[in-house]
């Protein structure tokens, strides 16, 4: 899939996980004052939700590539999820 413009605004998955790790550490270490840690906790809950959303999204089709005009690669077709086809051992 080409980059989703909406995704660019949010954190990438990797960034979200990193932020979450940071929040959990901060809460666990306990150096953060109680009110701030409550705010962080709320942020953390939101991040977990976002991450789960990304995980739940499933790109279904395999995209086939081929040479298009100008020598660039283009999508020329799609494959379904592979069942166990018979193929000779390559």
């Amino acid at each position: 899939m080409t980059k989703d413009a909406k995704e660019k605004e949010k954190l990438t998955f990797e960034q979200a996980l990193a932020k979450l790790e940071e929040i959990v550490s901060a809460i666990e270490e306990g150096e953060v004052p109680l009110e701030q840690s409550i705010d962080k906790y709320a942020d953390g809950v939101e991040l977990v939700k976002q991450c789960r959303q990304i995980l739940d999204r499933a790109e279904k089709k395999i995209q086939l590539l081929g040479r298009g005009e100008g020598g660039q690669l283009e999508v020329t077709g799609e494959l379904d999820e592979p069942a166990d086809e018979d193929g000779k051992e390559a």
Partner: protein, 648 residues
């Protein structure tokens, strides 16, 4: 190096013989000569034996006539077996005869093992070299067509097995091996080629660990370069989908073996790398299922290695089985043992990530709960502390101080008292009068009175019993100790300052304490105030009792105690003959009970407590410190109004 060989070459190579540099161009007629020469050698006159070497005139003329340009006389053809040539033959002939002899003696195709040296690869594609062993060497050439099929690169020092034809290179009369096929001795050519390329690329740094790029943990899309058929592509796709369905998958079908495969694979890698940014491909997998070295060969070829190295996108190489390591694997950023392993390295396991997310959420939640609990406990413990449980502890202290001061006002050194009294009597008196305990006393006394009236009213003595009841109830409410306490507290407030002044600053601190106390008094909750007031009242009342009965004593009353200190209230409590103690205003008397007689009957003291203590206090309050010279006491509560008291 050529010194040893010279003998052989001298023999055959005219250019090495003294004198001439270059052999003559013998050309075409040597065969004829050879034929002619042979006949002559077999004996019998033959038409021609030798022709002048330089000329191309066919046939020889005279037997012995020396031709003018002939380099030398050739002996009459002695034939193949002959040792002595009767006439000198031409070089061409010589070479031709040697060639013939060689052709007769040697098989068409020879297989030779030897060491390569002097290898020269020309631009033309032909490879010239020398094949040697410890005692001999032979020049060799491998023409482009044959050389092109070589898997390995010929190099000095390599031991090879060469197959080809041996012949004489006419122009130089040089023995030469024309090599058709060559393989390295011992190892296969593929293995050798592999080793050669590996060393070359390693030296160039293509395998350097420092140049390898990290594989992105969460790729948005993965590009796959492999054949569209076969187990490899199926395994890869299945694994990618199972582990991380969130990533898109792009497949660029590419032949992975056969003629030209290496070039195609390299091209695919280049194309995919070029479009990676546009398509969002974060990682590329190059893969092929298992096979023999020949099957996997394309991935050991230089174009593939160069393409992998040049790519900006991280590349995972998964070629063959676990034990197959190809050059492509070595150049790639990560080597995977199999195509499936390549897919596993390309994407994380979503279920593991989910598990981490849940665990992180649980950890945070647990910790938050604990922190909130801790905060709650901290609050509770603060709530239980002395300051909160007993906020009016200082009030008690203050009240006690009041009592002390009041006591000092009453007792103490005479002139000081007199002095202080003169100054402080009005406010102190009012203070004492307004002591919450006293107010409560009065209130209690009023309650007593009202209760008595109630009883009287209830007994039906008055026509106005009903009205009296109502009035009594109303007044009862008005005399609620809490209310009196409030009033008293406010007055204490105002009078503390005057008291302080009156005492000439001696108890500034206590005065301040009282002020502070008064302030807190105002802030204290009604409930607590009432509760504490009751306690205070009890305590203070007792103290006041203790103090106030002294004035009663001065009027002539006395307090009698048994020998154990118990106050005797009734004559019947005394035992004839025991020691008793009588307290008078200024001291105590000890005496022994001689006899007892009943006092005149008094009214029943039911439900009203200790009349002896109450009324005198009341009386003292009325008769005492409110001296004649004092202005009319403003806040002084009026004596209980109307109604019969218990002492009527």
């Amino acid at each position: 190096m050529s010194a040893k060989r010279d003998n052989l070459f001298d023999f055959f190579d005219p250019s090495r013989a003294k004198g001439s540099r270059k052999g003559p161009d013998v050309g075409r007629d040597v065969t004829r000569e050879l034929a002619g020469g042979d006949e002559a050698a077999r004996g019998g006159p033959a038409p021609g034996q030798s022709a002048p070497a330089a000329s191309s005139a066919p046939g020889g003329e005279s037997r012995g006539a020396p031709a003018p340009s002939a380099p030398g006389q050739s002996a009459p053809g002695a034939g193949p077996g002959g040792r002595q040539a009767r006439q000198p033959m031409s070089v061409s002939l010589l070479v031709a005869r040697v060639k013939q002899a060689l052709a007769d003696a040697m098989p068409d195709f020879v297989t030779v093992v030897g060491e390569l040296s002097n290898v020269k690869c020309h631009d033309s594609g032909h490879v010239y070299f020398r094949l040697k062993d410890s005692a001999a060497a032979i020049d060799a050439v491998m023409f482009r067509a044959a050389a092109g099929k070589l898997k390995f690169t010929p190099a000095d020092g390599l031991e090879v097995v060469a197959e080809g034809r041996v012949d004489v290179y006419d122009a130089r009369g040089q023995l030469q091996l024309y090599v058709e096929r060559m393989t390295p001795k011992g190892a296969g050519s593929l293995e050798l080629a592999f080793r050669q390329l590996k060393e070359k690329l390693q030296a160039e740094g293509l395998f350097d660990a420092a140049r390898k790029k990290p594989i992105p943990r969460f790729p948005r899309a993965v590009g796959v370069v492999t054949s569209q058929t076969g187990a490899a592509v199926r395994d890869i796709i299945r694994t990618l989908r199972r582990r991380w369905p969130a990533a898109a998958v792009y497949l660029l079908p590419t032949p992975v073996q056969g003629e030209g495969a290496a070039g195609q694979i390299a091209e695919s890698i280049r194309l995919m790398d070029g479009s990676a940014r546009r398509l969002g491909i974060d990682t590329i997998i190059v893969a092929r299922g298992g096979g023999s070295l020949e099957d996997l060969w394309a991935f050991n070829e230089e174009p593939v290695a160069r393409a992998v190295f040049a790519a900006g996108t991280p590349i995972i190489s998964g070629v063959g089985h676990e034990t197959d390591v190809t050059i492509c694997d070595m150049v790639a950023d990560v080597r995977a043992a199999t195509p499936t392993a390549a897919a596993e390295l390309a994407v994380p396991d979503a279920s593991a990530v989910r598990g981490w997310l849940s665990e992180a959420a649980a950890r945070a939640t647990r910790r938050m709960r604990r922190r909130l609990d801790e905060a709650g406990l901290a609050l509770e413990s603060i709530g239980r502390s002395a300051a909160f449980r007993d906020p009016l502890g200082r009030v008690r202290t203050g009240v006690q101080r009041i009592d002390e001061l009041a006591h000092r006002l009453r007792g103490g050194v005479r002139h000081r008292v007199a002095q202080a009294r003169r100054l402080a009597e009005p406010p102190a008196g009012r203070l004492a009068a307004l002591h919450p305990a006293r107010l409560c006393d009065r209130g209690a006394a009023k309650v007593d009175g009202l209760l008595a009236r109630l009883r009287w009213a209830l007994s039906g003595r008055s026509k106005r019993s009903g009205e009296a009841l109502v009035a009594a109830t109303g007044r009862l409410a008005a005399l609620h100790p809490a209310r009196l306490w409030d009033r008293g507290a406010a007055k204490v407030d105002g009078l503390v300052a005057r008291l302080r002044w009156a005492l000439g600053g001696r108890s500034k601190r206590s005065g301040e304490a009282l002020v502070a106390v008064a302030g807190r008094l105002a802030a204290a909750s009604p409930v607590n105030r009432i509760r504490l007031a009751r306690q205070q009242v009890d305590g203070a009342a007792r103290q006041l009792d203790a103090m106030s009965y002294r004035s009663v004593l001065r009027r002539g009353f006395s307090v009698t105690r048994s020998h154990v200190g118990r106050i005797l209230r009734a004559a019947s409590q005394a035992v004839v003959g025991e020691m008793i103690e009588t307290e008078l205003a200024d001291g105590r008397l000890s005496s022994r009970v001689a006899g007892a007689a009943d006092a005149p009957a008094g009214p029943k003291a039911s439900g009203v407590g200790q009349p002896a203590a109450r009324c005198p206090a009341e009386a003292a309050a009325n008769a005492g410190p409110t001296g004649p010279a004092a202005p009319k006491p403003r806040p002084a509560p009026k004596p209980p109004d109307a109604g019969p008291t218990l002492f009527d």
